[in-house]
């Protein structure tokens, strides 16, 4: 099957990715403007993005007695100072507003008798989030003048004179190519998983922390068009329940379980409890021969045991199945933990587009929200919603001033689009190529694991290894040109691989660019095992004449607003 038709569509605002941030961007745009909106979603918005299985807490909320500034201080501590404070504070100021909105839409939040939300620690509130994504999706589907195109895979932006004019893609089911012209684009495609060899590399290869369907599309499209990126070297490595890769926060924060080694010694006090230190301690204890490591749960009550089985069903049901299948549970045995492979994800660490305070990228009229946007870690669900809101409000404001701006080519401009896609589709009778997408994906993951600080090297790397990684990723990238697949459905896999390889190049450049070890495990640079004040800047990058240029940018502090200076 080949792609034989291209459709031209027009909209005021194109939202690429109908996940957490994208959906909230649409809700905000419709609430405050009459701009036409189109959402291009790779899957179906009902369960797409990071929230497919649900969540059981909102991890970013300003609880009673705390302030937005307290949350920013937490972000700064956890990210060891590499935070855009303008982005952090503007996000924090919106956290409680979007939470109230979610509750209005139908999200169940646990309350005290006086009507306030029940806090879980200093920043979290407890919810039933099993159906959080259907709640958001239903709200978006009920809006007027919003076109949702499900199963439309966006593969490239249309950019002229550093200004976004829309995007192109293809539809998984119909095999029709699309050229979508838009005045503004919000990119909300999430982060990138699958760069490194995962914890379960075989049959359960996709049983990973982050959505395996978030493949760095947004990053890759921006990188290719010269958008500036920031802090890719702050990789995210999650501390998870072993094998099921289910969350540990529910146990650590929910029932106060401590991290213990195989001798029963509490080790978290030895290494610290920032996000990266919790992983680092676990890695070190294993190296020192004190593994396996656990969360100590055997001291919980029967009621807590039963509640935990339910809590996991609302977000990671495989963990509950695992307990029941083995006839155990958290009360019967401690929960074994491990670090995951590294991810690039701007909702947890600070990797992503370099945006101004309004979340506009360095490509004009292209806004980034959620995991794809950099500079602002610990966004989690509510922070992603706020960024969707900020981007939407900024677009509305800009449109008021630039209302006459027109981008309405009547005819298709991208005439080579079908050829671009069809080069990867087998013709009838054509032999299958030697290497499959899976082969190359596995090869990429092996390279990153071995030479760019994956699980097998305890997240450590050297300059020489990173240089080798860059060579090998380039080799694999050349092989992609020979790949061909039988169905349009599988064309998605080709583009996902290409996206990941582009992200790998930039990631390697960033790892080389930060000559220190600022966050143990997230970046464990053996040539520079310490951190110093010389590292108190952002490591940014952009593609110039086909080469990745690494830049240093000074820290943006609270009270400042950051605006791009286009040169």
């Amino acid at each position: 099957m080949k792609i034989e038709e291209t459709k031209l569509l027009h909209t005021d605002v194109l939202i690429i990715g109908g996940g957490t941030a994208g959906c909230y961007g649409a809700l905000t745009l419709r609430k405050h403007s009459d701009l036409s909106i189109m959402i291009a979603e790779k899957a179906h918005i009902k369960r797409s993005g990071c929230l497919a299985a649900g969540v059981n807490a909102l991890n970013a909320y300003i609880v009673e007695g705390r302030t937005a500034d307290d949350y920013v201080n937490y972000q700064l501590k956890d990210a060891n100072c590499i935070v855009r404070e303008d982005l952090a504070i503007t996000m924090c100021e919106g956290l409680n507003r979007v939470t109230a909105e979610l509750e209005k839409l139908g999200l169940v939040i646990l309350k005290n008798p006086d009507g306030t939300y029940v806090a879980r620690g200093n920043r979290n509130i407890k919810i039933n989030g099993e159906n959080i994504k259907p709640i958001l999706a239903d709200a978006v589907a009920s809006l007027d003048n919003v076109t949702i195109i499900n199963r439309l895979v966006i593969t490239d932006y249309i950019v002229e004179n550093n200004t976004i004019l829309g995007a192109v893609g293809f539809h998984i089911d119909t095999g029709i190519a699309y050229e979508i012209r838009a005045k503004y684009v919000i990119i909300a495609t999430g982060g990138a998983s699958g760069l490194y060899r995962p914890n379960n590399p075989g049959f359960s290869r996709h049983k990973m922390w982050y959505s395996p369907f978030n493949t760095g599309a947004g990053y890759a499209m921006g990188i290719r068009h010269g958008a500036e990126m920031t802090t890719f070297e702050m990789r995210f490595i999650a501390l998870r329940c072993k094998d099921t890769i289910a969350p540990t926060g529910t146990i650590a924060q929910g029932v106060g379980a401590l991290q213990v080694n195989s001798r029963g010694e509490v080790y978290e006090t030895k290494y610290g409890i920032t996000t990266s230190e919790r992983v680092y301690g676990t890695v070190k204890e294993n190296i020192d021969g004190h593994g396996p490591c656990y969360l100590e749960t055997t001291n919980i009550s029967d009621e807590q045991n039963s509640d935990l089985l339910k809590a996991y069903l609302n977000m990671a049901p495989s963990q509950t199945l695992r307990w029941i299948e083995n006839g155990t549970g958290p009360k019967a045995e401690n929960v074994e933990i491990e670090g995951t492979e590294p991810y690039i994800v701007g909702g947890h660490t600070a990797s992503g587009y370099w945006v101004d305070t309004n979340r506009e990228t360095t490509i004009k009229n292209l806004y980034a929200a959620g995991d794809v946007a950099g500079g602002c870690p610990q966004k989690y669900v509510t922070g992603a919603l706020v960024e969707g809101e900020i981007a939407a409000l900024a677009i509305i404001e800009k449109e008021k001033h630039l209302g006459t701006h027109i981008n309405s080519h009547e005819h298709l401009q991208n005439l080579a689009l079908q050829d671009e896609y069809n080069q990867y589709l087998l013709s009838p009778g054509e032999p299958k190529p030697r290497f499959s997408v899976y082969d190359l994906e596995e090869a990429m993951q092996k390279v990153m694991d071995t030479y760019a600080g994956g699980i097998s090297t305890m997240y450590q790397y050297t300059t020489k290894q990173l240089e080798k990684a860059e060579q090998e990723i380039s080799r694999i990238e050349e092989l992609v040109t020979q790949v061909k697949v039988e169905a349009v459905r599988e064309l998605v896999f080709v583009y996902e691989l290409k996206e990941r390889l582009t992200v790998c190049h930039v990631l390697i450049a960033h790892l080389l660019g930060r000559k220190e070890t600022r966050w143990h495990t997230f970046g464990e640079f053996l040539d520079y095992p310490e951190s110093s004040d010389a590292g108190l800047h952002y490591v940014n990058s952009k593609l110039v004449d086909g080469r990745i240029q690494v830049l240093e940018r000074p820290l943006v502090k609270r009270g400042e607003r950051y605006e791009h200076s286009y040169s």
């Binding site: 379960n200 509640d307 029941i324």
Partner: protein
């Protein structure tokens, strides 16, 4: 980690195929659903919840410590019933009221 779709129970409503966040489920010529890429399953169980006739179960791969037990889900008003069929033949059901929050 993956799912199995039981053709004998499938009524061809396509809801699983629509909702899968990885677009991994296809509808065959016999109008029945099939997971075309079982190794690509994230284990989010969206399809399991969506199926109106409990024709889809999920299980843990052997590499995740699985022993062959399966899980299906049925909905009734605001309740989700999680049915576990254990490998030793025993069964267990956990019911969750969507109107009630998690405690942790």
């Amino acid at each position: 980690m993956s799912i199995a779709i039981h053709k004998d129970k499938c009524i061809g409503c396509k809801r699983c195929s629509i909702v899968c966040p990885g677009s991994l489920i296809v509808i065959d010529d016999d109008k029945k659903a099939r997971i075309a890429y079982p190794r690509d399953c994230w284990g989010c169980v969206s399809c399991v919840k969506e199926c109106p006739v409990s024709a889809i179960d999920f299980y843990l791969g052997a590499d995740m410590g699985g022993r062959g037990s399966t899980m299906t889900v049925s909905s009734e008003d605001s309740y989700l019933h999680w049915h576990i069929q254990k490998y030793d033949g025993t069964t267990q059901t956990i019911t969750i009221d969507r109107r009630e929050s998690n405690q942790y």
